[in-house]
Symmetry: D2
Subunit: 326 residues, 4 copies
Amino acid sequence: EHWELNQHFDYRILLKLKEDLEKIKAKKGTALNCGKGVLEELKPLATLEDEGLTLKEIVERVEKDLLEFADDETVAINVASTEPTPEFDPEYHATLEGFERAIEEDRRDKVTASMLYAYVSLKNGIPFANFTPSVSSSIPALKELAERVGVPHAGNDGKTGETLVKTTLAPMFAYRNLKVLGWMGYNILGDLDGKVLAHEQNKRSKIVSKDKVVGKILGYYPYTITEINYFPSLQDNKTAFDFIHFQGFLGTKMKFYFIWDAIDAIVAAPLVLDIARFLLLAKKKGQKGVVKELAFFFKSPMDTDEYNTHRQFEILKKWFEALVSS
Amino acid sequence: EHWELNQHFDYRILLKLKEDLEKIKAKKGTALNCGKGVLEELKPLATLEDEGLTLKEIVERVEKDLLEFADDETVAINVASTEPTPEFDPEYHATLEGFERAIEEDRRDKVTASMLYAYVSLKNGIPFANFTPSVSSSIPALKELAERVGVPHAGNDGKTGETLVKTTLAPMFAYRNLKVLGWMGYNILGDLDGKVLAHEQNKRSKIVSKDKVVGKILGYYPYTITEINYFPSLQDNKTAFDFIHFQGFLGTKMKFYFIWDAIDAIVAAPLVLDIARFLLLAKKKGQKGVVKELAFFFKSPMDTDEYNTHRQFEILKKWFEALVSS
Amino acid sequence: EHWELNQHFDYRILLKLKEDLEKIKAKKGTALNCGKGVLEELKPLATLEDEGLTLKEIVERVEKDLLEFADDETVAINVASTEPTPEFDPEYHATLEGFERAIEEDRRDKVTASMLYAYVSLKNGIPFANFTPSVSSSIPALKELAERVGVPHAGNDGKTGETLVKTTLAPMFAYRNLKVLGWMGYNILGDLDGKVLAHEQNKRSKIVSKDKVVGKILGYYPYTITEINYFPSLQDNKTAFDFIHFQGFLGTKMKFYFIWDAIDAIVAAPLVLDIARFLLLAKKKGQKGVVKELAFFFKSPMDTDEYNTHRQFEILKKWFEALVSS
Amino acid sequence: EHWELNQHFDYRILLKLKEDLEKIKAKKGTALNCGKGVLEELKPLATLEDEGLTLKEIVERVEKDLLEFADDETVAINVASTEPTPEFDPEYHATLEGFERAIEEDRRDKVTASMLYAYVSLKNGIPFANFTPSVSSSIPALKELAERVGVPHAGNDGKTGETLVKTTLAPMFAYRNLKVLGWMGYNILGDLDGKVLAHEQNKRSKIVSKDKVVGKILGYYPYTITEINYFPSLQDNKTAFDFIHFQGFLGTKMKFYFIWDAIDAIVAAPLVLDIARFLLLAKKKGQKGVVKELAFFFKSPMDTDEYNTHRQFEILKKWFEALVSS
């Protein structure tokens, strides 16, 4: 029992939900190209590809399972562990036609699980969000699909903890013309995510996503260190240590430190709910393609260069107000 | 030599400025109602009131000294130590007529040094800014004066360190609906300011100024602790320790800590220069009265309830762009 | 239910102990001269003195209640809230005769609850420890009593958190001849203890106890700040922020920060158990009077100037080994 | 000029020493098997091996240079950058005969610069200390040499910063039976040492030296993370961030954080001086071989399992007092 280990919320909440939780049945899915991190840390992991299915058959199974469950209010959100980033292949990733050909030709080396789930959702008019740094719906092929079908999607990588603080604080240094000389961010976490990220291949995608935000906001790229390490006794607790070295008037160097001591799942869960609600609203209002106004929720927002949390919030508010009154 | 103790910037910068610095001659001024902190820590302190001058004579002397020096480009900025907050007296503080009557009647119990300097500046068309939590130009009487003379002014209390970080971070908790349960801010500093603030009377004004910003931004007033203590070995170094206790999804409590390790004078100096430039521009463009768009620079901005650093920056930018192109 | 608020240990432990816990019945006691902090924060507080009893009658009632309960293995430990420190009065505090005269004469202004409990325990041959900064058994009168009756006692003020770290770290600076320029310690806590200590009178005793240890270890008294503040949302959580400014070779200043984020009751409870065991052993081995070798457990150990945690541990070990093999 | 960049002490100290410093002339030496870190970061680096000298010729040159300079009071201390750890080869490292055969046979693959300097010093009766994690005089061959010649030596790896704190604090958790669940130590530094340690090969030796101390003191090996990263803007400043997760009564988990913000050279220099003085005294008093009582100064002390800073200090004091009075 996962709760036993953490007890980060009241067990009586769990008791009340027991019946409902027990009714949820997970179906067998795919973990195609999810990297060593996922395959080793989650085993035994029974997947559709282990059954010997072709890509096409996998898509059909996932589609069948999804449609049995889905209704008009359904939104799909990828909260699986981080996949390694596959190399972009114009032949199969650039166009919807190419992507569907990859499925036809059973090119498993070109397709990851997060792409498949995005594909099945969007194809069936189900709004989709990618809460992870995996590639998923961000390839041109799937953006094309969303436009064609007329369904909204958003991503990538939920901005829950250290990066949220980074993108809130970094603007301050820019506004005040305090030059950031270096920014160090050390993250330790004890959950399954931490275990998966301990694998170099999977970690890489995450670090790239966390690392670039400071430079995007400042307009120049200071020296940065971004580390993620597994720390088992923390369990669902995630702690980040950041150190910012900055330079002010007359070249004087000064220091800023922060410690973020939070529970990743607890800060992530309400974002997932909010994203679902916003995407559903967008769908109802007829929006399609990337909803870049949801950048507020993501570390690597699609189709925008706005990383400043404050501006993202203003954009979200304006979008929401316009949408509601439309 | 003050630099000897701190050495927080290169001594060669000082050598280059030596000649210019030596030309600056300070005149004897007033420290009326500046509180025990100022009187005890800065002694021997020779003031105009010690010479037995009346309020009217003090005003005349300060005016004479100022006009000898000032030209069209002069801006006056109050960077003196924090005064205790006097009780508001409608008779003498509410109208310009009342304030001038206080001077005529030599009501020294009603007037503080920071009011006098603001009065003399504004009366002579010199833009004025109050970089301290002292009352200064924020009483209705002096606001009226600024409007009448047609000169811009701004204040109060330069937002240089911990409060800058507070007003940058607090919005994040609001945006994400993370409830702040408590916010503790401990400040230690070793300069003269620290010595003066060690006096209860003077400290009070400062704490009020630092303390309210979090509630203003969040829309509710969490439990707060704000302490300022003198720590001699730090000299010009100012360090703030903040702890934020917050509550997220399912009532889970989480923690955030930060340490700001900076040099107060170094972060303040460029703000003083910027405020001077902006006020001069405002004057040239014909603005008068409180320039509330300069809220970005102040802990307790006059005539606005906008404490969010990010919004303040947007407001400043818009104001500046409109002004320049006007 | 206190546990509800904190949940800092597994509720199933509590379930197992439920029956035993319910059997424990507290008797009405005394809160004589416990200060405003105790009287206001714990009310409604029914005490023996409220019943109009004289000192002598209070002593008799406490004694009766204690003897009903006690056996040969009983040890009494004061874990009540901190009392204000009464002024030492040679007439009533210096000798056992004087102290007993105070009781006879019903001099309630001279006697505190912690003295009364110590008196009753020691008089009846029950080893006593004072886990608080209250005066208790440390007055000469009660030390005399312990010697006469032949019973061991120990105190004062359990060294549980920040002071434990202080007395562990401070020796390092001494060994390496790094001069401590200043040591700041800020404590925040949310339990009843915090509430009581928010009262100036009660806080004073605690701060004196925490503050002097650094100087005792270093051999000189650096600038120190010791603050304790109530922070309700922390509940049983106690957090300390320490900053140490130190100077090394060639006068270079350097910095050390630590954050102690612990649960006071959880770090205190095993000490209380250990002290009880050690005192019982001491009694069985015929020791009487202050057991200064238990200094390891206390912030203000009686009859010793050894504040270095490491030396205290070595002394405890030697004492224990000698005692066991005696 | 190195001082220009750091200015961590008063430039007037430097002016006073200018003449003396200019008289010191460094001779060309060896960097044999010092690893990529040293070779790449210090280039252009002119070494004796670049001149095409054999091992034997290198030894002769170093010996000649040393003897020209040395007198009766000379002590040699290795403060060079960390070498990668060579594999132990019994044939050449286990006995003095083997080591000298390696020199004869010009087996450059078996010998590192730090061994050569130790060899030359000890052979000539010059006390030697290894202030680095390099192997140096710790191989049996050189220990044998020291015993034979009758000269004292000590090592390894100066305990200057984070490890000093670790070995001061870890005993506290042991004394109080608080179980350390995990200990994370992140080090960032901006000097040449940091640059060299950014090279994986060189870093490895250092991490092993830093990492094991906690387990040695606790008696069990908790989960540890030890990272060292280069952070250029810090220059000579070295900052360590440590997080200790520990478990107390009833299984409750608690947290401790510390930040060490110091100047490595400044905390190291006086240790180097003290080691030199102690070794000289040891020599004068006729001690030979490893002086394990100097463990206080080292991260990986030779021939002892005592890592507790406090015990090491007691041992040093006793040794010194006995030696002086012998």
